[in-house]
Amino acid sequence: MFDSIGEVILLFWRTLLALPHAWRQRQKVFEQFFEIGNASLLMVCVLSFFIGAVIALQTGPVLVERSLASAVGGVVGIAIAKELAPVMMAILIAGRIGSAMAAEIGSMRVYQEIDALRTMNINPIHYLVLPRILAIALALPLLVVFAILVGWFGGAVVANFNHLMEIPFRAFFADLQNIVELKDVGNGVFKSFCFALIIGAVSCHQGLTTIGGPRGIGRSVTKAVVNSIVLIVIFDYLLTRFLLK
C-alpha cells in the first residue's frame, strides 16, 4: 500500500492542476454526485441512527448513575459530530463508492477504454478522475451533516425511551446545544472532506493502475477499499491531533 503513496499523491496533484477544467466537466460531476447520494443516503440514515443509539445506550446509563444525566446529550453530540459520523460515513463510502470507482475505472483500463480516450487526446484525469473526486468531495461532507443530525436523533430516541435514562427529547437537545459548538460540527465536516479526497484519489489510482483481467479488477477493488480505510484511520488521528485539537 505504502509503495504507491507517491503515485496517489501525484495523481491528486494532477487532479488539482486539472481544476480549471472542472466547469467543463460539471455534467459528469453532477451525475457522480447524484449517484453517490442515491446509493448511500438510506445506508447513511440507518447506520448513523444506530450509531447514535448505541452511543447513548453505552454511555447514558453510566452517566445517569453518576448523576450526570445532563451530560448525555453532550457526549452523544460530540462523539457523533467530531468522530463517529465522519469516520463511519467515510468507511461506508469507501466500501460503497470507492469500490465502484475502482471497479469502473479498472474495467475501463483493462478493456482499453482509457487507451481509446488517450488516442483521442482526452485526458483520463480530466474525463474520469476529476469529476469523481469533485463529486465525492461535495457529497461526503453533505452526507456527514445528514448523518450527524440523524445520529443525534438516534441518541435522543434511546435516551428518551430507555428505562435507565428516560431523558426527555427537549432536555437531551438542550444539553447537546450547551456542549456542542458549531465548530465541532465544522471539524467533523472538514475531516470528512479530507477523507473524501483520500477515497477518491486512492480508488481512482487503483482503477487506473489495474492490470490483468477480471481478477485484476477484483484485486484493485479490494485494495482501493482497504487502503482507503487504513488511510482514513491514520489521517483521522493526524487531523485530530494536529489540526482540530
Binding site: Y111, M120, I122
Partner: protein, 253 residues
C-alpha cells in the same frame, strides 16, 4: 493524438527506424524499420506474440520506445506539436467503445470533449459517419447490444470523426465471421479511395492482408522479415514467412 478539427485531408507518411522495446528483460521489438507512403494501405502480419500490437501502441504514442524513432511526415512523433498538426486514430482490436456511453455518444466523443462543434452539428456528423459504416440505426444503442463486427465498425466510425490522416487498425477482423471480415476490409479500401487516408493494419488474417494491402511486412520474434507487395511477400523464400503464409491443417484422407 489529434487535436484541432481542421479539414485538410490526405494521408501522411510514416517512417519507423530502429525501434526497440523490452518488457522485463524480454526484447519484444528488436530494431524495427519500415516506411509507409502517404495514402498507402500497409499491412503488418505476423503470428500472435510477434510484437505487432506493441508496435502499434508505439505508433499512436501509447508506449515509448527504448530506442529508435518514429517520424510522421519527417517529424518525430515525440514533438509536442505533432498531435496538433496531424490527426491519427487507432481502431482497437476490441473496439474499445466506452461501455457507459451509447454508440452515438462514443462516435461523437472526440468532438464533444474538445468542443469542436455545436451539439446539433455533432449529431449530424455522428449520423453521417455511422451511415458510412452501415450502422445508421445503432446510434442510440449501447455497445453491449452490438455484435463483434458492429463494435468494430462503430470504432471505425469513431476514428473517422477525427478525419484522420493516419488510421491504425489492430486486428480489425479478429473474432469476425468471413462476411463481416470482408465488410471491414472493404471499409478500409473505401476510406483510402474516398479520403486518401494512410492505413496501417496489423493483422494475422491472410485473406484480409492480401485483399487490401498495397504492401505487406511480415514480423516475427520482434523483427521484420520482409517488406514488399503482396506478390513479393508471397514469393519470399524464408521458412518463417512461408510457414506463416502456408500454414494449413493436415488431414488424413
Amino acid at each position: 493524438m489529434s487535436q484541432p478539427h481542421s479539414h485538410s485531408n490526405g494521408g501522411v507518411g510514416l517512417v519507423v527506424r530502429g525501434l526497440r522495446k523490452s518488457f522485463d528483460g524480454q526484447e519484444v521489438l528488436q530494431g524495427i524499420d519500415f516506411t509507409v507512403q502517404p495514402g498507402e494501405i500497409f499491412v503488418i502480419m505476423g503470428p500472435s506474440g510477434s510484437g505487432k500490437s506493441v508496435l502499434l501502441k508505439h505508433l499512436i504514442g501509447l508506449e515509448e520506445p527504448d530506442a529508435g524513432e518514429i517520424l510522421i511526415n519527417g517529424e518525430p512523433i515525440t514533438t509536442p506539436e505533432i498531435a496538433a498538426k496531424y490527426r491519427m486514430a487507432l481502431v482497437f482490436q476490441s473496439g474499445a467503445l466506452l461501455n457507459s456511453l451509447t454508440v452515438g455518444e462514443n462516435v461523437g466523443l472526440y468532438l464533444t470533449e474538445h468542443r469542436l462543434k455545436p451539439a446539433a452539428e455533432i449529431e449530424a456528423i455522428v449520423a453521417e459517419k455511422l451511415d458510412d459504416v452501415g450502422l445508421k440505426d445503432a446510434m442510440d444503442k449501447m455497445p453491449s447490444e452490438l455484435s463483434g463486427g458492429m463494435k468494430k465498425r462503430a470504432a471505425i466510425a469513431r476514428a473517422l470523426v477525427i478525419e484522420p490522416q493516419l488510421i491504425l487498425y489492430d486486428e480489425p477482423t479478429s473474432e469476425l465471421d468471413p462476411v463481416s471480415s470482408v465488410v471491414i476490409g472493404n471499409e478500409i479500401l473505401d476510406l483510402k479511395r474516398r479520403i486518401g487516408v494512410t492505413s496501417l493494419v496489423v493483422s494475422h488474417d491472410r485473406d484480409l492482408a492480401f485483399g487490401v494491402a498495397d504492401r505487406i511486412a511480415v514480423i516475427a520474434e520482434g523483427k521484420i522479415l520482409v517488406v514488399g507487395t503482396p506478390d513479393e511477400v508471397k514469393n519470399f523464400n524464408h521458412p518463417l514467412v512461408q510457414g506463416f503464409l502456408r500454414a494449413e491443417f493436415k488431414r488424413e484422407k
